[in-house]
Amino acid sequence: MSDHILEMRSITKRFPGVVALSEVTLSVRRGEIHAICGENGAGKSTLMKVLSGVHPSGSYEGEIHFDGDHVSFSSINESEAKGIVIIHQELALVPHLSVAENIFLGNEQSVAGVINWHESNARAAQLMRRVGLAENPITPVGHLGVGKQQLVEIAKALSKNVRLLILDEPTAALNDDDSEHLLSLIRELREEGVTCIIISHKLGEIASIADSTTVIRDGATIETIDMHADAGTSPAVSPDAATHPDADRPHIGEAPVVVGGSQQHSAALTRRIIRGMVGRDMANMYPEREAEIGEEVFRIQDWQVRHPTQPDRMVVRDASLNVRAGEVVGIAGLMGAGRTELAMSVFGRSYGRDIRGTVHMHGRPVKIRSVAEAIRHGIAYVSEDRKRYGLNLIQDIRHNITAAALNKVAPRGFINTHEEITVAERYRESLNIKAPTVMSLVGQLSGGNQQKVVLSRWLYTEPELLILDEPTRGIDVGAKYEIYSIINQLAASGKAILMISSELPEVLGICDRVYTLAEGRITGELSAAEADQERLMELMTAEPETAEGN
């Protein structure tokens, strides 16, 4: 079978007490883009670690054939020598070193240990042209955005004469523009003969780029789908707003439209993949909800925020918005539009300087100068990056849940630890946090369960307004559904919810009303009925009418 560059046969990998992979089979054709899908913990990363030699041969059962040869790698160096390069989700770049230094890190262009800088920089420039990175090779990597850093990683892979490139969640941290650029680069690499394995949670992306997709669930291969062949199953798919833009809307050029096959076709494929991943048919990715909208809870007017270290940069300009009780309001914007900055500046001035504008709670103006005051006024903020800004990973669930409202279990400053445990247990049960006890360390939970811990913490503050910043980032499909259900329940109980998201299907799926944000301005406000992906994207990329007016 020489048209397969890689064949992994019956791979079984055991960890003490757990079978991480059982009889997994993966066949990748030469020169294709092969996607691997699966829930978090399904075994995707373990499989890639087996392939790249992180788990050395002998620690697993089964055979790996690469390019027709039976191979057994005992370290990453050996797999890289064969041209298998893996780019991890968390980029392995040194921020203070230059692009060229990073590209040749561990593979320095040197003679007898002395680095030839001209050679390095010239070759780096060459590689950077290949990946479409228009930067000086001596720029420190830390000065580049995440999208460009991703390109540096790919350039680094190319410098090793990559034949099989493995990308783990390459677009998880990228905005739509950068994602689109990266995906087209991957297509170009395919034309040049580089085979790609791409691990992704973004099914729309997979539908648009992959030639075949292998679905893994609970450490076993479910199926490999040929993405160009017929979707095969479930023809009776009901059109939903998420994947079926209204036909009579004008097409917008820049919008990332799903390519490769008809909309209908890719929607069917997506459903098939989801079914394989979760082992059940998820007719609707978003739970139904009857919105009962009440009085206005929260309003900001003429909100202005300047960049904390560059005071001449306006990050949010003249933003006004409101959220009513029982309503889920979305903020849609590309990365860098000022979404998180807007939320954090409202939340006790946690971001920015020279903040102007007024905040009203229940129609009355309030002054919020610190996080403690924000919490007292009934505002909660679930941050975008839960590991960095949300959780104390080395503490247990209990401490994390009570962290923002500790006074409730600590009358006169003394903590009632028994009451605290009871509270934590209550949230563990009601939000279905999967952990043996509330004494389990948060660092050992999966992404979805960690997010539920963060949600519990903020629910315990009994907020009236809950700001959710990318609440489902890095969470698998099943857990996403649970998070959406929680959001719906909260709205049903009369809370006002402001949700920031870069996933348009998600915004459309659960919001009652959407504001679009572009370059720090609110460029539009649409009800759920009038919104669709293209209309939102149009507003999200809208150019501000007035030029630079500070």
């Binding site: 960890f15 939340f347 006790g348 946690s350 610190s370 996080v371 403690a372 924000a374 919490i375 903020y381 941050s383 960095r388 800004y389 949300g390 959780l391 104390n392 990973l393 080395i394 503490q395 401490h399 962290a403 923002a404 500790l406 006074n407 600590a410 400053g413 003394f414 903590i415 630890t417 028994h418 009451e419 445990i421 009871t422 247990e425 006890t437 360390l441 050992q444 913490r457």
Partner: protein, 393 residues
């Protein structure tokens, strides 16, 4: 989750914390054997308490600083400075002994305010601020003392570190008062443990089985009573031991059961997350350093009282002993983990080792090597146990 847990669970649940107790028992037994029992003799046990009390006092403050993600390199110099201030007030100026104590505590608080200002408000890393403090306060000590030792302190002042509460109730060859304190401590411990157990059951949490509970209480009671018996047969209850016990109880409570204490752990675990949960990090950091300054002053008073003098070179390298005690006691290098009781046990491990080696007549250079190796091994164990937790996932 009502139910009972067994012994294995009790130990493995937190190897990091329980490992330290096992190590402590092992080291005590080892040195008791190596010194032919001298280590646990009444006289030496009393001496051990007196000789290392100031390190243990420093370790209490240090573990809190380390949990918050900082370090304090200046405490040795602060011990010297506060002792010097007390000496100048009491010996040179001739004021009453308690004025000297107040002056020393105030100096410690001022030192804490100074360092807290730079760390908490300006935002300079504590390593730098306290490294500078180490130089500044050593220099100020020398200036305060005009570079000469001051002694002797009045006897009231000396009593703080050298005094004993004995003979209060008399006793035939042993001190009844000391034994009474021991019995009270045992009763206090038993009642407190029993109440915790009852509260846990009330809130339907898991508790250890009744016989295991009894064994635990009896074991602790036996250790306390044996210790009290030894002291009673020597010179009675050292005042400094009562001081130390009070500090351990107070700070154990502050760190585990108060909002302030919880905020220290939250900051050390994830500073950003703590800020976004409404923790007033500036205030907590500031108070932590003021607290460390005051505790260093307490240590300074005890040390000067014990040596009956204030010397320009006092407290040299104390910071390293205090830091070592905290790390041996299970504090994490990156912050967020560590306990007062752990630091005390860590300090006692260092104390028993030093004391044991002194009795054995091992010279200072070898002692340093051994203590250094133990420190590295303790932190290596910490790193290893963290990895173990990580791979268990």
């Amino acid at each position: 989750m009502a139910g009972t847990s067994n012994i294995a669970e009790l130990f493995t649940r937190n190897l990091r914390q329980s490992g330290i107790y096992i190590a402590f028992v092992f080291i005590v037994l080892l040195f008791t054997a190596l010194t032919g029992g001298t280590l646990l003799s009444p006289g030496n046990l009393t001496n051990l308490v007196l000789q290392y009390s100031y390190i243990l006092i420093l370790a209490i403050g240090m573990v809190m600083i380390i949990v918050a993600g900082h370090i304090d390199l200046s405490v040795g110099s602060v011990v010297a400075l506060t002792g010097a201030v007390a000496a100048v007030v009491v010996i040179r100026e001739g004021l009453p002994w308690w004025v000297g104590i107040i002056a020393a505590l105030a100096t410690g608080a001022l030192v804490g305010i100074w360092q807290g200002f730079w760390v908490a408000i300006v935002g300079i890393p504590a390593f730098i601020v306290t490294l500078a403090g180490m130089l500044i306060f050593r220099g100020l000590t020398m200036q305060t003392l005009d570079n000469v030792s001051l002694s002797p302190f009045p006897s009231e002042y000396q009593q703080i570190a050298g005094g004993f509460l004995n003979g209060l109730l008399g006793g035939p060859g042993y001190d009844v008062f000391t034994l009474l304190i021991g019995v009270l401590a045992v009763l206090g411990f038993a009642v407190q443990q029993w109440r915790v157990r009852m509260r846990k059951l009330e809130y339907s949490q898991s508790v250890e089985s009744l016989w295991l509970f009894a064994v635990k209480v009896l074991l602790v009671a036996a250790v306390i009573l044996a210790f009290a018996w030894r002291l009673a047969n020597a010179r009675g209850m050292p005042i400094v031991l009562i001081l130390l016990a009070a500090l351990v109880l107070i700070y154990g409570f502050v760190t585990q059961r108060t909002v302030f204490g919880r905020h220290i752990y939250a900051m050390g675990g994830n500073l950003q997350a703590a800020k976004l949960s409404g923790v007033k990090t500036t205030r907590v950091n500031f108070l932590l350093f003021v607290n460390m300054g005051v505790l260093a002053a307490v240590a300074g008073i005890v040390y000067s009282a014990r040596s009956n003098s204030a010397q320009p070179g006092a407290g040299y390298m104390f910071e390293l002993d205090a830091i070592a005690a905290a790390f041996i006691g299970g504090a994490a290098v990156t912050g967020g983990v560590g306990k007062v009781q752990g630091a005390i046990i860590g300090g006692l491990i260092m104390a028993v080792m030093s004391n044991g080696m002194q009795i054995m007549g091992i010279d200072q250079s070898t002692q340093n090597v051994v203590r250094g190796v133990v420190l590295v091994l303790a932190v290596a164990f910490d790193v290893w146990s963290k990895k173990r937790v990580a791979t268990e996932k």
